[in-house]
Amino acid sequence: MQRLKGLNGFIALMLVFAIIISGCSSGNKDKENTGSSPDEKVTLRFSWWGGDGRHEATLAAIDAYKKVAPNVTIEAEYQGFDGYEQKVKTQLASATSADIIQLDVPWMKELTKNDFFLDLRNQEGLSLEGFDQDFLNNFSVYNDKMVALPSGVNAYALVINKTAADKLGVPTDIQWDWDTLYEEGKKLHEKDNTKYLLLADHGMLMQDFTNMLKQRTGTQWINEDYTLGFTKEEAAGALEWIDKAMKAGVYQPLGESDLFFGKTEQNPKWINQDIPIISAMSSTLLSLRSVLPEGVEVVTALPAIDKNAKNSAVLVRPSQLIAVSSKSKHPEESVKFLNWLMNDAEAAVILGDVRSIPASAPAQKAAVEAGKIDEAITKAVEMGLKNAGIVDNAVATNSEVSALLQDVIEKVAFGKLTPDKAAQELVSSLEKKLKELQGR
């Protein structure tokens, strides 16, 4: 009996190994001839995520492309955001991805460790002239390869319900700084304690905190070399403001607003117009506005900038990136379609702002002229680009670093730690974590 057990175990072990080995070995697919003559029928797959508006507009654009390149058929693979990341990663890992793939900025660091995407530099038929070169360098180039192009520009901004703000006596035409936010917020809440000036979940509070630091120091809040870009005193100063603002009712209490983390538009205080201002990415404006009654005017403004700011710290990033798979059988045709989608005036007019403001200048111009782009979003992006701040490095956006910051910010927002102690905790825990990250 004992022997049998051993034999059984052995067989089980072998089976497990067999499964693992067969699962891991990837087949070498025969590469088909990539040279294609202009008449040859070509089918490309294009995958993206989005909502109804984006689906409809992109399908219309694909339809219009039939006239531009009659030999190319484009199969659309579209879905909502749920599950898209997992699906794309699975597809990339097994070389079954679409030829043209819409991607999100936070995934890129991980995805570019492998050779999944075509280097878009010096590709015939793809013009990069319309793009802001700094913007491309910041977000499209990884390991010295240009792996994806930004489909649109998104900027961090204050989204203001002007109708409500006017009614509540909140000014909408000023450049906000931290003092004016505090004073206006305090005034508003003292007048009516069901009203708050600002809506922020923990993510936005973290953004406000790092913005404040970056504006005061003029550097990254965490440097590329794994050191802190701020002192304990500077952190305490910023946390003090958050503490003060929380206690004065400038922000809706975190316990209420965090219930709607990631779905800010569902917050009843915003819907019932008890809160006039949200700091958010410009692309969320459409969904934030969709829950308000018709006739309510929504405008945008630059986020709060310190009076003595050394850097604006305004975050500007691509709304999405679009890449061409390196496994594509028709790289030339894919690149041509990408070029059309990004730069062509006709495409820009069809697409409008479904992927935020087009990143390429000629496309942007065409879309604006056709009146296809929301004014408030345009304003937010224009102001953002004009005042763009430091771009966070990969260390500063590391998920473990963010988790530590989130912890401290929440403790302050809930009044569990004094700003001084919180700053102490933040500095010591970050230093420890950064050392650990550096060692990896």
Partner: protein, 279 residues
């Protein structure tokens, strides 16, 4: 007497209240499918001031190229074969494990149980690669074919437990009457384990019907999307979502599961109580 009847009334009231609490989300879902976005999220009241009546027709028509009619047909094409094959294959395998002794039986049984413990995430990529090599991506075969080979250990185990509860004397008397082993299964055991079969069928139906993650991984073309994929087709943080349409289609997609449950309720409840499973 009065004491007993007032007790009875009290328990009815309590049960009704509890039942109402349980069913409230569904009521909210239904009522909200007629509300505007603003009313859905802006107030916690069940009923709104203004109602919209076209959410069902607009939602059914869908956006882009395909509507919900297509998604429903697709889902049925996927779910029905999967359910039928799961029942057939699980019964055969469970019968084998519970009534026969054969070489390596314990080993195979423990392997089967081991797959029950295996987290789904670990087999995701290998399975995907396998189906990719077979050329089955973007078809329903990755769902249908495995179900023909009794790959859900949970159902096999459930049926084994049920078979073990049926006395062997029945098999023996059937043998005396001239049945071979397969006829014993068909003529004697299957009629007796109807409740268990219904449980398997209903569970598999609801799970496959609601399954989102596997479907999204294997199915790429929107033409082949199932209902659960179709429901999330328009959900994105940066665009305006007509929630009433999404909720309306959720109501419609819940209907088949509810209908099936009520139609098979009698057997279903019997099934989970007799196999000792907590539903």
């Amino acid at each position: 007497m009065t004491h007993a009847s007032s007790n009875k009334w009290l328990s009815y009231v309590l049960l009704t209240l509890l039942g109402f609490v349980m069913i409230y989300p569904l009521i909210w879902l239904f009522v909200s499918s007629f509300k505007t976005n603003q009313d859905i999220f802006g107030s916690s009241k069940l009923f709104a001031d203004t109602y919209v009546w076209n959410s069902y027709s607009l939602g059914w028509a869908g956006t882009g190229q395909y509507g919900f009619q297509q998604f429903f047909v697709n889902t049925l094409k996927l779910v029905l074969p999967t359910v039928v094959l799961t029942i057939v294959s699980s019964v055969i395998v469970a019968y084998g494990f519970s009534r026969f002794t054969f070489p390596l039986r314990t080993l195979l049984f423990s392997l089967m149980m081991a797959t029950l413990m295996l987290p789904d995430a670990t087999v995701m990529i290998p399975r995907y690669i396998l189906f990719n090599k077979l050329g089955w991506l973007d078809t329903y075969l990755p769902f249908i074919v495995p179900s023909a080979f009794a790959t859900s250990a949970f159902f096999i185990y459930m049926l084994i437990q049920f078979f073990r509860g049926l006395p062997r004397e029945l098999d023996e008397s059937a043998t005396i009457d001239g049945c071979n082993s397969f006829m014993i299964l068909i003529r004697v055991l299957l009629p007796l384990c109807k409740p268990a079969l219904f449980s398997v069928g209903i569970f598999q139906f609801i799970w496959t019907w609601n399954d989102f993650f596997n479907s999204i991984i294997y199915i790429s073309s929107v033409k082949k999307f199932t209902v659960s994929l179709g429901l999330r087709l328009s959900l994105d943080a940066s665009s305006a979502v007509s929630w009433n349409q999404v909720l309306a289609m959720s109501v419609v997609s819940v209907v088949p599961c509810i209908l099936l449950f009520f139609l098979a309720q009698k057997y279903f409840v019997e099934g989970i109580s007799t196999t000792g499973l907590k539903g």
